[in-house]
């Protein structure tokens, strides 16, 4: 036994030696580096979701989209109250014949010291027009008039150009840089270092043109933390000062923690059901009957969803346009309140009877619907689809849930048409009220080409209103068309089932001051924040 004990000690000694060797080898191999985390003099560490930057080609945008590190700026800016204000352009006017003239701000410096001029603006806008235009104009339609003036002409009477130019993809770069690997912008922060999937570091730009919107912190360190729980733990441990996005279901618990504040912007996004009504074949054509679509809407208890799933960090939705984007739309739509009586009434009218098992049926066939979720991925949107399924089953409507975590497989499934409805989210990054109705529910793109896979098309009347929104010069007419389109979409045709408006959340440690959350994360400004 004594000898056995001595052999055990020997094992421990050898293990200890091995551990030290391992540690030594790792230190020698240059893995020891100084930690990026720390707060020496004016540094704000921001925990963000996964790295989604593209580095090559016309789509390249580092520090601009989808995470905006304030390296670049646009000609016009979208403020947190969804207003358009002059920014790198001081003024603009519509000069007729589908043409806008923009006067550029003078004396704006790029991070390399060069002055921003019309050539740089044309270069930057043309890049986006080649890649993914948000208005119908080619490179040749953007003209330099003089050093501080450019003109943009659209191919047809598309009037939402100024709204589109607020989008960060229309950021202005110096042509001497590379938007992917070395973006040179005019913003309050300039790029210092980027380590893919690890960190993006920016530093205060001393020659920034606008003293009123200049950066308070010397450095911002963005750390990519894909897992929501880890993001929260990093904030609690003080290894980051601020996190965004905040996992919505943890927001209430986090807000209750000492030393941490959860900030909420007015909502710019939504969750909604889209009903498949076009080109559907049996048994997937059940929702071609508007009474069934309306019954589904009356069967959903949105108040409970907002309170129970999102702990109040969401609002009951009547449309796909949250009030922050355009208040008239939500106010102008009646929407659907939870009303089991109306569900029964509508389904009876549509020829259904309630069976002994409590479920609705017609001609011996149960009323059974397929709900598909996959955008955002099912693991993110959970448990909303399950709750909606339970609410509909409570009202005697059977629901089969098909969930995807893989967007490719989701789209392929939706294209098969073997579904009655999907649940999706959408967000507004532009103040153009036609953006989502046009992109998701109309039949053609800005070039007039037919859009594929339009199962959720509304109707002609709706499409006419959307086209009026796109082409109207007068703001009042735009608003009127937007309200009318929403009334058709929700109250009359009922092609969708709006569920909840979703706000953008930021959680920060109490040392961080001046947190203003922009409703649209891609427009977030970090300049006013400090410690």
């Amino acid at each position: 036994m004594r000898r056995l004990r001595s052999s055990w000690k020997w094992v421990v000694r050898v293990s200890g030696a091995l551990f030290l060797v391992l540690v030594g080898l790792l230190s020698l191999s240059g893995l020891e580096r100084t930690a990026a985390v720390g707060h020496p003099g004016g540094e704000l560490v921001i925990g963000v979701a996964k790295d989604q930057y593209r580095l090559e080609g016309d789509a390249a945008a580092l520090g601009v989209y989808p995470l905006n590190a304030n390296i670049t700026e646009t000609l016009v800016r979208l403020t947190p109250d969804f207003q358009i204000v002059p920014w790198l352009a001081t003024s603009w006017e519509y000069v007729g014949e589908n043409t806008w003239r923009f006067t550029l701000r003078q004396g704006v410096k790029f991070h390399n010291g060069d002055e921003m001029d019309a050539e740089a603006v044309k270069w930057s806008l043309a890049k986006q027009q080649r890649f993914q235009p948000l208005f119908p104009a080619g490179e040749e339609d953007i003209r330099v008039v003089d050093k501080y003036t450019i003109e943009i002409t659209t191919r047809w009477d598309f009037r939402r150009v100024v709204e589109a130019l607020t989008h960060p993809s229309y950021a202005i770069y110096s042509p001497k840089g590379d938007p992917g690997r070395n973006p040179i912008g005019t913003g309050p922060y300039r790029l210092v270092e980027y380590r893919q999937n690890e960190t993006l570091v920016v530093e205060r730009f001393a020659d920034y043109w606008n003293p009123e919107a200049a950066a308070r912190m010397d450095r911002l360190v963005f750390r990519f933390i894909p897992d929501g729980s880890t993001r929260i733990l990093a904030l609690q441990a003080g290894q980051v000062d601020l996190i965004t996005p905040v996992p919505r279901e943890n927001a209430a618990a986090l807000a209750g923690q000492p030393g941490i504040t959860v900030y909420q912007a007015p909502a710019n996004a939504y969750y909604a059901l889209y009903f498949a009504t076009k080109d559907q074949v049996p048994p997937y054509d059940t929702l071609t009957d508007p009474r069934v679509r309306k019954a589904i809407n009356y069967a959903i208890d949105r108040e409970t969803i907002v309170e129970q799933i999102y702990s109040g960090f969401a609002e009951v939705a009547k449309t796909l346009t949250p009030p922050a984007v355009l208040p008239e739309v939500d106010a102008g739509v009646e929407g659907f309140a939870f009303d089991p009586g109306r569900v029964a009434e509508l389904l009876t009218e549509a020829g259904y009877t309630r069976g002994a098992d409590g479920f609705w049926q017609k001609d011996g066939e149960p009323l059974s619907l397929t709900l598909v979720s996959g955008f955002p991925p099912a693991s993110i949107i959970k448990p909303l689809p399950e709750v909606i399924q339970a609410m509909l089953e409570d009202q005697g409507i059977r629901v089969r849930l098909v969930e995807f975590d893989d967007i490719g497989a989701y789209y392929d499934y939706v294209d098969t048409g073997e579904l009655h409805m999907v649940i999706e989210s959408g967000s507004w990054n532009m103040p153009d009220p036609s953006f989502i109705p046009f992109g998701l529910f109309c039949s053609c793109n800005t070039e007039g080409e037919a859009i594929l896979y339009k199962r959720f098309w509304i109707n002609e009347a709706f499409e006419q209103e959307v086209m009026r929104m796109v082409a109207a010069e007068d703001r009042a007419e735009v608003v009127e068309a937007a309200v009318r389109a929403a009334q058709i979409m929700v109250d009359e045709f009922t092609g969708v089932g709006p569920i909840a408006y979703i706000p953008n959340l930021i959680a920060a440690r109490d040392e961080v001051q001046g947190v203003v959350v922009h409703p649209a994360a891609v427009h977030q400004r970090w300049t006013g924040m400090g410690k």
Partner: protein, 310 residues
């Protein structure tokens, strides 16, 4: 020995070729069109023209055999193309992540063995005593705890409550401890049980009795005569674990924001980023094949009765 090695390497070539054909075919048969996913992720509206343009840009408009031969031709020159999603060269993407993965794999395996070898030997030597039972219980707990849960618990304890270690990221040795330990604690139970079982068998062998009869010390009997033979199945498992860890550990990488190869692979698969997936599969196959070869060769060193023949 050399002729054995040469024939194994030739076999390896054929295996890798077959794997590239198979993975290429499977990728293209799976649902999800990369062109459509790219366009939709960019928020673009899908039209016949935009899909066709994107397919042409990605080279997906060519017949499958042509696409494969083009890929193979470039791959033989170690050019694995560019990522559909980010536009970066695939080799740059993979190599950029490989360092972090190797680092984590080495620490995890090292820690796992540090935990498992002594405990395994201890459990075998003190078979069916309280120590052995406790070891079995610990192994069961370790093996059944999901790593995402364990990882978050470790972060909560060591980073949030005690503040000893960083929550996440890569940089210093301290950053390696929690992800390394999370992985090690899920690997160690398997090794521990394997070492125990294997050593128990070996200790019953006649030659062990002979060694004891010759008057060899108990330490020498266990460590030199016993453990050496008992390690053969452990080495086999080690090879497989190493290759497996080099393929990345998605859950642990995600929790600790560790910029390893696993996350890259999962994102590439979800986005149907064919060039990245194809190169990743090739890399992983190579890792498995080489680990297997190394394991086979090491048998001869551990047990002189085993001879490799060409």
């Amino acid at each position: 020995m050399l002729s054995y090695l040469a024939s194994r390497l030739v076999q390896l070539g054929f295996v890798l070729f077959a794997i590239t054909v198979l993975s290429f075919a499977l990728l293209h048969l799976a649902p999800g069109d990369p062109a459509q996913i790219l366009l939709r992720n960019q928020g673009a509206l899908l039209t016949q023209t935009s899909i066709q343009q994107m397919r042409a840009e990605l080279g997906l408009d060519q017949p499958l055999p042509v696409q494969y031969l083009r890929w193979l031709q470039a791959a033989l020159r170690l050019d694995f193309g560019v990522s559909f999603r980010t536009g970066q060269p695939v080799s740059e993407l993979l190599l950029g992540r490989l360092g972090a993965t190797v680092e984590l794999a080495a620490v995890a395996l090292g820690l796992a063995l540090l935990i498992a070898v002594p405990l395994g030997i201890f459990a075998a030597v003190y078979q069916n005593t309280l120590v052995d039972h406790l070891g079995r219980l610990a192994a069961l707990v370790g093996a059944s705890m999901p790593s995402f849960w364990l990882g978050l618990l470790l972060i909560y304890l060591f980073a949030v409550r005690l503040g000893w270690l960083p929550v996440l990221g890569r940089g210093s040795l301290a950053h390696l401890v929690l992800p390394g330990l999370t992985l090690a604690l899920s690997l160690a139970p398997v090794y521990m049980r394997l070492i125990r079982a294997s050593l128990c068998d070996v200790l019953r062998e006649d030659y062990i009795q002979t060694a004891r009869a010759k008057g060899a010390s108990e330490r020498r009997v266990i460590l030199r005569h016993g453990l050496r033979t008992a390690l053969i199945p452990v080495v086999t498992l080690f090879g497989m674990t190493l290759a497996h860890l080099l393929g990345g550990t998605v859950v642990v990488e995600t929790i600790f924001a560790w910029p390893g190869i696993g996350q890259l692979a999962v994102e590439a698969i979800l986005n149907r980023d064919f060039p990245v997936v194809q190169a990743f599969v090739l890399l992983l196959s190579l890792a498995f094949a080489l680990a297997n070869l190394a394991v086979d060769l090491s048998y001869a060193l551990l047990d002189p009765r085993i001879r490799v023949e060409g």
